[in-house]
Symmetry: C2
Subunit: 114 residues, 2 copies
């Protein structure tokens, strides 16, 4: 269970670095998409589509990036599935966390293959 895992100081440092890296990539992706959308605005409705896109992005980020240690293994699993992080960037975490994440990725692959 993720909420029973212990995090050593070095694991916390690795987790923080990976979390911040993914969040930075997330913001870069949203900024790039906002730039693309603004460049394509040729009618008023596109303005409000941009607004709705930003609102969705903000809520998704608020929801996805939850830095409670009990949530981190699931957060990292989702970020890997979404391509914001690689398993290699979590190198140094304990086997309990990595095993939890690998099992989650395996489940996600099974679902995606359906």
């Amino acid at each position: 269970m993720a909420n029973e895992m212990k995090w050593s100081p070095s694991e916390k440092a690795i987790a923080r670095k990976a979390f911040d890296l993914a969040l930075q990539r997330e913001f870069e992706a949203v900024i790039q998409e906002a730039k693309n959308r603004v460049a394509r605005i040729d009618e008023p409705s596109k303005l409000w589509e941009l607004e709705a896109y930003l609102t969705r992005s903000r809520k998704k980020i608020d929801n996805r990036y939850d830095y409670r240690y009990s949530m981190l293994p699931l957060v990292f699993t989702n970020l890997i599935v979404e391509g914001r992080l690689s398993l290699e960037e979590l190198h140094g975490l304990g086997e309990d966390k990595l095993d939890y994440i690998r099992r989650g990725l395996s489940l996600a692959e099974d679902w995606a293959a359906r």
Copy 2:
């Protein structure tokens, strides 16, 4: 009283044209500001400031651009005060409407001078 005014077909045509012109300028101003803001984004908080700006703009436009004939004299007065329309662009409206608008502009000037 604005809600007792009669609108002739030619007045309605002039009003529609002026209304659409102001709305087009409004959209162009918001699009330009969105482009400026996107170009200046250098940190995530600016993304959400852009979102908030778009939300404010949408609500302001929904609120300001009210095409009921009973509201048009006030709508036009506000649009002139905000620089989206000139009195000259309402040329051809009856004196009852123009007088209402001129009195509104005069009041607005008095308030601004305080």
